[in-house]
């Protein structure tokens, strides 16, 4: 059975059982490996993508249940054309191992879209579902504030 799903503005026909989580559709079927597998139980945030702009854990959304357009880290910006939030990540040298950062950036982008000038406690609230074992949190916080400033100046 074929399912239609729009990812980063592009329509795809996917031939997989409807209960396969979106994460594994993206990674193993479409080949978009920027979205990461961390826990499979929505406890780490590494698989965060947007559906119609809302940050969701793609390990918990079955292919059949995808209700809108999907945006992944690859759809946010590219190495040659960084989005503001990614540029802030580079400026603040956020990543260490980097594995969780796609999810962190997707969560931060959704926060900034909803709340262009988040306070520290807004950041705590929005980002607490995203685990980082390297401990990059202080620089993530700085980068979110910097991205907020950059986005207001544009």
């Amino acid at each position: 059975m074929s399912t239609s799903v729009t990812i980063n503005g592009k329509p795809h026909q996917v031939d997989l059982p409807g209960n396969v989580p979106l994460l594994w559709v993206l990674r193993d079927e479409i080949g978009l490996t920027g979205t990461k597998f961390g826990c499979g139980v929505a406890a780490c945030g590494a698989c965060t993508v947007h559906i119609d702009g809302e940050a969701v854990r793609s390990c918990q959304v079955a292919l059949d249940d995808v209700w809108g357009e999907v945006t992944t880290i690859e759809g946010v910006g590219t190495p040659d054309a960084l989005a503001a939030v990614q540029a802030a990540w580079v400026d603040h040298q956020v990543a260490q191992c980097g594995y969780c950062q796609s999810g962190q950036i997707m969560q931060a982008a959704a926060l900034l879209a909803e709340n262009p000038d988040p306070t520290d406690s807004d950041i705590d609230e929005a980002m607490q579902g995203n685990l980082c074992r390297c401990g990059t949190y202080p620089r993530i916080r700085s980068a979110i504030h910097a991205a907020s400033t950059m986005m207001k100046e544009v």
Binding site: L16, P17, V20, P21, L23, W24, D28, E29, G31, L32, T33, G34, K36, F37, G38, C39, G40, V41, A43, C44, A46, T72, I73, E74, V76, G77, T78, P79, L82, Q86, W89, V90, Q93, V94, A95, Q96, C97, G98, Y99, C100, Q101, S102, I105, I123, D124, E125, M127, Q128, G129, N130, L131, C132, R133, C134, G135, T136, Y137, P138, R139, R141
Partner: protein, 746 residues
């Protein structure tokens, strides 16, 4: 074909007798240089195993695992500093597994020396020992050694290559080499004209590299500054390739289930149901478990769960209490080591106050963000592997053995590592992927573990116990006698990986306790082995992670018993022993505005550990918020002699502290019915954005020799938190994690 692709293709020749472009630089202190694994084609030049030049540019090899510590950038900067190239203008690759990439610092760490009191003679002895790393092909990233290892070697590599390129230009121009300058990848002639390195490389290959003095640090352009990391854009755009991201053509996806009774075998299994599930292509008997190959990782995981397996039991006691009885029994056996034995611990002055304490810490998992995985492709007589590994030469060797191949028939591509912390120095995950690929010849297969398999099949930080006795008199420490019992990590891992027995006193087992720079007149530390077969391994900072907690909690208890301020007590006890250690303690005192007095509802603790050549002091501040305790602030000071990239050092210090605080607050691996009880992050959580303290870091540079950066921030974090909780509550907790006793903010 891309340039990276071409270099990768050439690595098929690694280890063969054909050496093209290999130049014997004087930089190798060993008599005979290892073969150059980089095979240059026409118009290309591999000036040495670390510098590769063709018409399109310069590629530097940083053959250490990039697991977040920034090694790819700093290692490249060491070469680039002397080679006179800009990091923006070059490519940096990990390169193939090769003898030339041995770790020259790791073996030097094996000498049973305390470290902080090292003389020049002993430092030289350690360096000479390090050369043994070459003999055992130890291309290993671990032990906080990368900068010690590369600091001189890579600058000499860059300098030597630079002078060779200058000689090639001198020959072409008919001038003396010393009339030439270099900058930004060019040789500059006396008339100001410039020749790019890319034009000179081929001629340079035939030139014997001259010996050349290294530049004085005052001339450094790159080192000593926070450089933009070469992996930062990739890691901010989802384009950096981790092991789990490789996608060779025709790739199939597998997952597995291994006996959760660790070390036990498999009686049998029934895969009838799994075989019929969607996407399933093959069931593979791994001997100690089962793998399922499918069209999608998730389908493979679902089917693996559906296999009915009859497991053998584990070769260790079935529950945590029985396991800790065995650890306690270790105290009854003769000690393996007494590496510190100053004065006479029986010699306690009349009227001294004595104190005793017993401590206990749990087994811990590494819990890297990227679950274990590897990709393997067996075709004819060749095996190709892709994985994030801290031990590429070991993985290549062991997988060759498993597949019945020669080492030269195994190609291994080291990707970025989604966290290492010591877990990816093991090779179990690469071996399983190889076994799966052997069942699917001609098809590349990626074998990915579920988070639960990852957490339940780790090589754990051993659970450990300690018994400390001390005496204080007139406000001073007069005696400290500590015993530590745990499974020995080194003996088990060397047996597992190299099939070799380990003899003699195990220094690693007592690090963080025997080698602390305190001048206590009667001072003994003994290490005992616990006889258990639970898989244990190298967890960030290894035994320092428990010994630091034991030792520094006890020093705090001694200070309190002596009626002294814990920070001043430490300063006074180490005053004449090691100046850099005094320096870091003074730094956290000043940064935190330490007064020894905290208001109600606030607690502060200090701790100090010397490890991996670097003294680190931390002050942690906790605050009571309506009964819930939050870790609010932290101050860190460290001294590794030279901070080659202060941005990276800062990130490592904060990250290592958070890693330690996560374990101290929440981390424990427990056993029931012979199996690990925790399976995923809800059972094994860590600090997050809202529970991470605001942190300040100060980097001092007074130590005589360069020290490590990746691990030394972990050990003091745990006792500093405990000491802060004591200051806040008056309750001394001697067992981790602290959330067993306190309501800590999660």
């Amino acid at each position: 074909m891309s340039r990276i692709g071409k270099i990768a293709r050439r690595t098929f020749l690694i280890g063969s007798a054909v050496i093209v472009g290999g130049v014997a630089f004087g930089v190798y202190k060993v008599r005979k240089p290892a073969p150059n694994p980089l095979q240059a084609g026409p118009g290309e030049a591999a000036l040495n195993p670390f510098v590769f030049i063709d018409q399109t540019g310069v590629t530097l090899i940083a053959p250490r695992a990039e697991m977040g510590q920034g090694v790819r950038t700093t290692w490249a900067a060491l070469i680039a500093e002397e080679l006179d190239v800009e990091l923006d203008d070059i490519k940096v690759l990990h390169g193939p597994p090769a003898k030339a990439y041995y770790n020259s610092a790791l073996m030097g760490e094996a000498l049973p020396l305390k470290g902080y009191d090292t003389s020049d003679f002993m430092h030289g002895l350690g360096q000479a020992m390090g050369e043994m790393g070459k003999l055992i092909n130890a291309q290993v990233t671990g032990g906080s050694t990368s900068m010690k290892d590369g600091f001189e070697r890579m600058r000499q590599t860059g300098a030597s290559a630079r002078e060779t390129l200058k000689q090639a230009a001198a020959d072409r121009l008919g001038v003396d080499r010393d009339q030439l300058q270099t900058a930004k990848g060019h040789v500059i002639a006396p008339d100001g004209s410039q020749i790019p390195y890319t034009e000179l490389a081929e001629a340079a290959v035939g030139i014997t590299p001259p010996d050349v003095a290294l530049r004085d640090p005052s001339q450094w352009r790159l080192l000593g500054k926070a450089l933009p990391r070469v992996d930062m854009v990739g890691k901010s755009t989802g384009t950096a390739e981790f092991g789990i991201d490789v996608r060779p053509e025709g790739l199939k996806f597998a997952s597995l289930r291994i006996n959760p009774h660790l070390g036990g075998g498999m009686v049998g299994f029934d895969a009838t149901k799994a075989q019929a599930m969607p996407g399933v292509e093959k069931i593979v008997d791994l001997g100690t478990g089962v793998a399922v190959v499918a069209s999608n990782t998730w389908l493979a995981m679902q089917a693996a769960e559906a296999v009915d397996i009859d497991w053998e039991q584990a070769p260790y006691p079935t529950d945590t209490d029985a396991i800790f009885k065995k650890i306690a029994a270790g105290f009854d056996d003769a000690p393996n080591s007494s590496l510190r034995d100053d004065g006479d611990v029986a010699d306690v002055p009349q009227g001294a106050t004595t104190l005793n304490a017993e401590y206990r810490v749990p087994y811990l998992a590494h819990a890297t963000m990227e679950p274990m995985n590897a990709t393997a492709h067996l075709t004819g007589g060749a095996l190709e592997l892709w994985c994030g590994t801290q031990s590429p030469t070991l993985a290549q060797w062991k997988c060759a053995g498993a597949a019945g191949l020669e080492i030269d028939d195994v190609t291994l591509h080291t990707t970025y590592l989604g966290g290492g912390f010591g877990r990816r120095g093991e090779i179990d995950f690469v071996l399983y992927a190889t076994k799966v690929a052997m069942a699917m010849p001609g098809t590349p297969v990626q074998t990915t573990w579920s988070r639960e398999e990852d957490m339940r099949h780790d090589f754990y930080r051993p659970g450990a116990m300690a018994r400390f006795t001390g005496a204080v008199s007139d406000g001073k420490a007069v005696m400290l006698d500590g015993q530590i019992s745990a499974q020995p990590v080194m003996a088990q891992s060397v047996d597992r990986m190299l099939d070799m027995p380990v003899m003699g006193p195990d220094k690693m087992h007592v690090e963080g306790a025997f080698n602390q720079p305190y001048a206590i007149p009667n001072y003994r530390i003994r290490g005992h082995f616990a006889d258990l077969k639970i898989p244990v391994g190298y967890w960030r900072s290894v035994a320092n992670s428990h010994n630091g907690f034991f030792h520094e909690t006890f020093v705090d208890e001694m200070a309190i018993a002596a009626g002294r301020d814990p920070l001043e007590f430490r300063l006074e006890t180490m005053a004449d022993e090691h100046a850099p250690s005094v320096g870091v303690l003074q730094a956290v005192r000043d940064m935190s505005g330490w007064t020894g007095v905290t208001p109600d509802g606030v607690g502060r603790g200090v701790a100090f550990t010397y490890s991996f050549g670097t003294p680190v002091a931390q002050v942690i501040e906790v605050v009571d918020e309506d009964g819930t305790i939050r870790i609010r602030k932290a101050w860190i000071a460290c001294d590794m002699g030279i901070a080659l990239d202060p941005g990276t050092v800062r990130a490592q210090m904060i990250g290592a502290m958070i890693y330690g605080l996560s374990a101290a607050a929440h981390g424990q691996i427990t056993f029931a019915q012979g199996q690990v009880e925790q399976g995923n992050f809800p059972d094994y959580d860590a600090l997050r954005m809202h529970s991470t303290p605001q942190t300040e870091v100060q980097i001092l540079e007074t130590s005589a020799y360069i020290g490590g950066a990746g691990e030394p921030g972990t050990p003091p974090s745990m006792p500093a938190l405990g000491n802060a909780l004591f200051d806040l509550t008056g309750t001394r907790v001697r067992e981790l994690p602290f959330n067993r006793t306190f309501d800590l903010k999660v």
